[in-house]
């Protein structure tokens, strides 16, 4: 029994204590008039705004389509879908390129020596710094966003894949050769799974960067998505909507990260470091 132990109920109470206190303080100060609502609206105002952001904009009309379509016609859901689509598309492009090149660079020291200098030069440039070029090359709309997001996902996945493949314990390769493995079998059944812990770390980091970049890209190059919406809300002086959008971004980010974590723990259920978790 650890000192911080106790029942599930006690732990939930502990987890909620500080957030609830902050919200209560914030609400109290807002109602007492200590905070200018144009700078920081009260939590209840934010919550109401979030609800109306989520809800359909027009009353239900059977002539315009089925109920379900109406139910998901809210602005928030459209924005979230647009952002998620960009993250997935960009992540898919950048991730597959990073994985492919990473595997090549990991397996072949010739490819590694040829490509590594370029990778090292480009790696420290934050994806955000590519925004001007992205607009110059791809104009506005989804293409520059895809470019920036894939760039964000590319490097973490590339570098972790290289490290994963190059650090495969030689004993596995020897054992596999002894059992008669070579070529594709060696790659698919030994190198790839042995590098999987590193690769999956790259996937999680890459997704995290992609999610940051999508918000920034939406503030600049497109006119939909969560990033666009919170910038638009600023122009209308709607701080409640800004915060509602930010909370949505946080919840989606947490949701995807949790799902990725679950997925990666499942794939790595054989892995030693997960023994106690």
């Amino acid at each position: 029994m650890s000192a911080a132990g106790g029942g599930t109920g006690k732990r939930i109470v502990q987890a909620l204590l500080v957030p609830v206190a902050v919200l209560a303080l914030w609400e109290g100060l807002s109602r007492a008039g200590f905070i200018n609502p144009l700078i920081l609206p009260s939590p209840t105002k934010v919550a109401l705004r979030w609800w109306s952001y989520l809800s359909p904009q027009k009353p239900f009309d059977a002539a315009e389509g089925p109920y379900l379509t109406w139910l998901v016609s809210g602005e928030l859901l459209h924005d979230a879908a647009a952002s998620l689509f960009r993250v997935f598309a960009g992540f898919l492009i950048g991730g597959s390129l990073g994985l492919g090149l990473g595997l090549l660079m990991g397996v072949s020291s010739t490819v590694y020596r040829l490509m590594n200098p370029l990778v090292q030069i480009l790696r420290p440039i934050p994806p955000i710094a590519y925004i001007p070029l992205a607009i110059l090359w791809f104009g506005l709309g989804n293409p520059p966003a895809f470019f920036l997001i894939s760039l964000g996902a590319f490097f973490p996945i590339l570098l972790n894949t290289i490290a994963g493949v190059r650090n495969v314990d030689a004993i596995y390769v020897r054992a596999a050769r002894n059992l008669g493995a070579g070529g594709l079998v060696m790659f698919r059944r030994v190198i790839l799974p042995a590098a999987a812990p590193h690769i999956l770390t790259g996937v999680r980091v890459g997704y995290g960067v992609a999610f940051i970049v999508v918000i920034v890209a939406e503030m600049i190059a497109v006119n939909s998505g969560l990033g666009y919406r919170i910038l638009e809300a600023r122009e209308f002086f709607w701080p409640d909507k800004i915060i509602a959008g930010m909370i949505t971004i946080g919840v989606i980010g947490l949701g995807i990260d949790t799902a990725l974590n679950k997925f990666s723990n499942h794939l790595l259920r054989w892995h030693r470091s997960l023994e106690s978790s």
Partner: protein, 266 residues
């Protein structure tokens, strides 16, 4: 009139030199002469640095000799292969495969049919008392159990030669004895040729038909000691202990040379 059986493993004038990280040339093996007959259990015994693992790795095809002839199963050794199955001290199980998958891996590479693989894996799981671990991952098993899996994995290959590189070095004494008996049982049943590297004097007497004592750098064959005691061998018997005393003397000579060399280099 029976001609002597051609050796399963034959080393003639095998040298192995390599360059150490500080640029010096190290002669790991020099002029190794060794013939292992089919079905024989031979132990390579010596202190660390005597080249016993180097010789085993050369036979396995991981690191070829720089001079001399090395034949296994009548063919020159050029690369690793499943005809010389190796059991490593570090087990070297694939942690991402279940126990059953680890054992099946070599058979899958061979292209055996699903039924054959399933049948053989089930047999080996039973033979090594691993049946209840079939669907577990190596991380769930103790060292002794992992080494049983490694043995099952190489037995699946039906290799005529089993190479064992200090396989029980990391195990506690009781587990080790248990696995030694297991290996002897398997050896009797499968009639495999076994070349077993160890620095355990008692282990080598307990297991081997012949013990090849090696010298410290350069690694040469110091002497070959046959063990004719009937099996199962009684480690407490006077004959066993006489042999142990004799071998300890031989090995300790080399151990002293090893230590003097270490002191000189520091």
């Amino acid at each position: 009139m029976s001609a002597p059986a051609s050796p399963q493993i034959l080393a003639e004038g095998v040298d192995k030199t390599f360059r150490s990280p500080d640029g010096q040339e190290v002669v790991a093996l020099r002029g190794i002469q060794l013939a292992v007959t089919p079905g024989e259990f031979v132990c390579l015994l010596g202190p660390s640095g005597c080249g016993k693992s180097t010789l085993l790795n050369a036979i396995a095809g991981f690191s070829l000799p720089t001079a001399g002839t090395l034949l296994a199963n009548g063919r020159p050794v050029t690369e690793p292969g499943p005809d010389r199955a190796m059991v490593f001290q570090e087990y070297a199980l694939f942690p991402w495969m279940t126990i059953a998958k680890n054992i099946a891996f070599g058979l899958e590479i061979k292209g055996e049919s699903r039924e054959t693989i399933d049948r053989k894996v089930a047999e080996l799981l039973k033979l090594l008392s691993l049946a209840e671990f079939a669907n577990r991952f190596p991380k769930d098993l103790s060292g002794g159990m992992r080494q049983r899996v490694a043995i099952a994995r190489v037995l699946a290959l039906d290799a005529p030669i089993l190479l064992m590189d200090e396989p029980f070095g990391a195990l506690d004494a009781l587990t080790r004895r248990n696995l030694q008996d297991e290996v002897l049982r398997i050896w009797t049943e499968f009639k495999t040729t076994i070349l077993f590297v160890t620095h355990g004097i008692e282990e080598s007497i307990y297991l081997a038909d012949r013990i090849v004592v090696m010298t410290y750098r350069p690694g040469t064959v110091k002497t070959v000691v046959p063990v004719t005691l009937p099996r199962p061998r009684d480690t407490a018997s006077p004959e066993f202990n006489a042999l142990k005393r004799h071998l300890t003397g031989l090995v300790m000579e080399e151990q002293r040379r090893h230590e003097e060399d270490e002191i000189r280099r520091h």
